[in-house]
């Protein structure tokens, strides 16, 4: 059995003792499989996305249950239900996902679980893949009284995932495995452990006294969870947190990926400094930290984002070693992520030793070289149905003052030039509520733009609210490309597939919206005439009561591209007829498809417009928007 699996997936399901390069998120997935996980639920969110993607791919072969749930709260509850029934479960989300799940989070921690339960939460300092805020999940653990393990690299991510299941089950409390982007997306050679056979079925033991947390039982549960944290620290505070020995009266305390930067910086400077590497960061390992700082004169705390550990070190130092100088955020930033260029100079300063690289000077020189190089902002892919939909909206609303209430998904790219059609983006589904508030408090016209996956995730209550409370509701445009595209094409309730690849009857957005009281119109996202006509019609009804929803349907062109490649059929390509082209620039400056090239010999010259047939995905929309009818399909291939 095991051998077969390792043949089919040599890297991810390799045998015990083998070493392979794994992404941090893949290592977490492997750790869960080694721990015998029986159920996995998730709503995709980068930087955690490859945890569920890997576990989805392997679910049938290994034999555990996997699902993409409609949102993080639901996925958390699905996982908790399994854990209550004695089945080990994992739920993965990005940092904001935890906000959505948090309603159920604290009560489940109070009443406890039976099977081990791990919540993978990936923070995103620097906002590589999230735009809303640099939220620090470690405060959540403290607020909800849930233990946190923080790996610093993929190998440790695998080990700590297993450990989290173990301790979670031992103390009947869910665990947070907290990563950051550079742990989740780091690659490292990882040594694999033994795969434990998954237990996929358990039994829910009725215990209403325990699971209904009402007072006075509530206070009892509160006391219990506090005691659990004390016990966990007592048993694992020293075991899981390690000291890297070194010389001198100055020590460093590290968490997460910061540890790796510190180690490499010290190595470059040829220094051996004592490091306390924290992995079980909550409950605070008070005794472990006390012992480490007791005989030190100076300690530097290196942690990304907020000074969570630093504050605790300061508190502990008051009793243990009030003379000690604690450095941290006085030398290191709270915002953004760390890297060698941030850590190395701090080490040089503290230990008075120089490597001799002047990063600032080098950076200035590099910036000088960058002069005249055009910036490359993210754009809609060639053939994206969202570009087409935004273009039609621009045609209808023109220069009128309209508030574009944006949401979270690929369509956020509408915020960039030349569209600039997103006035704000706050959180999943927030476009509906915010649009409503602005609508009520002003006389301005509002257009809500939201995607299909986000619609199912959290827009439904907002649309019901329009039916409930609104007189004149704004136009709600649903960008329906059939998948959760931005995070890697995961299925959602409207896709027609489950996370394990089973076919289901898809929920139809138009039917759901109608049931919520909306007037619904469907349009083909790849047909400009139809889109503009239908948008105009709905706009004219803006004074009528109730929400109006336009579902703009067009398959994500990357999915289409893949389908055609699999079939071996080439997509049709488009070309610009140079005789007809009047060089108006609509295709590049207003429509802005990356497959259309605008070339000039030197700045200021008259450009030549061509379509890069290698990039063109044949959506045909440029041929519809060209005012001179200069763009036509090439022969061959299918549309």
């Amino acid at each position: 059995m095991t051998k077969k699996l390792s043949e089919k997936h040599p890297r991810l399901l390799g045998e015990k003792g083998k070493r392979f390069p794994l992404l941090g998120n893949e290592a977490i997935a492997r750790g869960a499989i080694e721990a015998g996980v029986g159920l996995v639920a998730s709503y995709p969110g980068t930087p955690s996305s490859e945890v569920p993607m890997t576990l989805a791919k392997l679910s049938k072969d290994v034999g555990y249950y996997f699902e993409y749930s409609t949102n993080e709260k639901v996925s958390f509850e699905v996982a908790a239900g399994a854990a209550w029934s004695g089945v080990r479960s994992l739920v993965a989300m990005k940092h904001f996902g935890l906000n959505v799940a948090s309603d159920s989070f604290s009560p489940v921690a109070y009443v406890g679980i039976e099977g081990g339960m791990v919540m993978v939460v990936a923070d995103d300092p620097q906002g590589w893949s999230s735009a809303q805020s640099e939220q620090d999940t470690r405060y959540f653990g403290r607020m909800m009284r849930i233990p946190i393990l923080e790996p610093s690299d993929p190998q440790e991510a695998l080990e700590l995932t297993k450990k989290a299941f173990e301790i979670s089950e031992e103390f009947k409390i869910p665990f947070i495995l907290r990563t950051t982007t550079k742990v989740s997306h780091a690659i490292e050679t990882v040594k694999l452990g033994e795969i434990k056979k998954a237990k996929t079925k358990g039994r829910f033991k009725k215990n209403p006294e325990q699971y209904n947390n009402v007072r006075p039982h509530l206070q009892q549960l509160h006391r219990e969870i506090d005691q659990k944290l004390v016990k966990i620290n007592k048993k694992y505070g020293k075991k899981l947190n390690k000291v890297v020995p070194g010389k001198g009266k100055t020590g460093i305390i590290t968490t997460g990926v910061s540890h790796e930067y510190v180690k490499e910086a010290l190595q470059k400077l040829d220094l051996k400094v004592p490091i306390a590497k924290l992995t079980l960061t909550y409950p605070t390992p008070k005794e472990f930290i006390s012992k480490f700082i007791k005989n030190k004169e100076t300690v530097l705390v290196v942690e990304e984002l907020q000074p969570v550990i630093e504050n605790e070190v300061n508190r502990i130092a008051k009793d243990i070693n009030p003379q000690i100088k604690v450095h941290g955020k006085n030398m290191l930033p709270r915002d953004g992520e760390y890297n060698m260029e941030i850590i190395l100079p701090v080490m040089e300063k503290i230990f008075k030793k120089k490597l001799g690289v002047n990063f600032k000077k080098h950076q200035k020189k590099a910036e000088k070289a960058m002069k005249g190089i055009p910036p490359r902002k993210p754009v809609f892919c060639a053939g994206c149905p969202h570009r087409s939909t935004f273009y039609a909206l621009k045609e209808v609303y023109g220069n009128d003052e309209v508030i574009y209430a944006g949401d979270v998904g690929c369509y956020v790219l509408g915020m960039f030039e030349p569209y600039k059609m997103q006035d704000f983006m706050i959180s999943m589904g927030a476009s509906t509520g915010l649009g409503h508030g602005i609508n009520k408090a002003t006389d301005q016209e509002v257009v809500v733009t939201i995607g299909d996956s986000t619609f199912f995730h959290s827009a439904m209550p907002g649309i019901a609210n329009y039916s409930f409370n609104d007189g004149e509701a704004p136009l709600i445009v649903v960008f329906d490309n059939g998948v959760t595209a931005m995070t890697g094409h995961q299925p959602h309730p409207g896709t027609g597939l489950t996370g394990m690849g089973e076919k289901i009857n898809p929920l139809k957005i138009e039917e759901v919206a109608e049931a919520l009281g909306a007037e619904v119109v469907i349009a083909n996202a790849y047909n400009q005439k139809e889109l503009t006509k239908k948008i105009k019609e709905l706009r004219n009804k803006k004074t009528e009561r109730g929400p109006k929803v336009l579902v703009s349907k067009g398959e994500c062109r990357l999915v289409t591209k893949r389908k055609y490649r699999r079939k071996g059929v080439p997509l049709i390509k488009f070309q610009i007829n140079q005789d007809k082209c009047k060089k108006c620039g609509v295709c590049t400056n207003e429509f802005a498809c990356p497959a259309i090239k605008e070339e000039r010999k030197k700045t200021g010259d008259e450009p030549k417009y061509t379509i890069d047939t290698q990039l063109c995905l044949g959506c045909s929309v440029c041929s519809q928007v060209c005012p001179h009818n200069a763009i036509k399909a090439e022969k061959g291939g299918k549309k």
């Binding site: 893949s129 982007t181 050679t189 620039g585």
Partner: protein, 204 residues
């Protein structure tokens, strides 16, 4: 297995295959017994933005940081010319080789400012102060002409890096990695690799 660390930076435009190229090289470096480190960023940057991937290999004792320290890259493979300029902060005169695939992706945002795409001579001039050597390779053009699709350009770049002896991985190992990672269309990929090897040899 090396006792040192080789720091490779791959850069290009999202959707160009930067990640896959990174996965292939990672596989080959691993198969030669190296310890692997690095970063593969996924997310927003995929959609037509700039996207760097770091591949670090060699001794386990020396690889800790997932990212390469600025000024420290041994080799930068730029799958797009202006992305090479954006990568110079990772390069330095004494150490770094920069190989460029001469196939521009005009940034849409650039179009809007009536800016001309910089010439390859201009790009080379900008990069030279940061590199020991700069090589320009017509990878995508050759891929399009000889193999009918620019997707094979990235494999030509890998071939050129090995052919010019700038990427310390054996060709046989790389061929195996190509077969393992991209089994579909492997014949064309191997052809692309051979073309790249030859183009790389000519660079010196």
């Amino acid at each position: 297995m090396s006792k040192e660390v080789f720091d490779l930076m791959l850069t290009g435009v999202g959707g160009e295959g930067v990640l896959t190229t990174g996965v292939i090289i990672t596989k080959a470096a691993h198969d030669e017994g190296n310890f692997l480190g690095g970063v593969q960023l996924h997310g927003l940057s995929q959609r037509g933005g700039s996207i760097p991937t770091f591949v670090r290999f060699g001794s386990k004792e020396k690889i800790h940081s997932p990212g390469i320290m600025k000024t420290d890259a041994d080799l930068i493979l730029a799958l797009e010319p202006i992305e090479a300029v954006k990568a110079v902060e990772y390069a330095r005169k004494e150490k770094t080789t920069i190989l460029i695939n001469n196939y521009p992706y005009m940034p849409v945002y650039g179009n809007l400012q009536n800016v001309a795409y910089p010439t390859i001579q201009n790009i080379k001039k900008k990069i030279k102060p940061f590199a020991k050597e700069v090589g320009v390779i017509e990878a995508d053009k050759v891929a399009e002409e000889k193999l009918g699709n620019i997707v094979y350009g990235n494999t030509i770049m890998i071939g050129a890096a090995i052919g010019s002896k700038k990427l310390p991985i054996k060709k046989e190992t790389m061929k195996k990695a190509l077969k393992d990672v991209v089994p579909r269309g492997v014949e064309k990929n191997l052809k692309a690799f051979e073309l790249g090897l030859k183009m790389g040899k000519k660079l010196k």
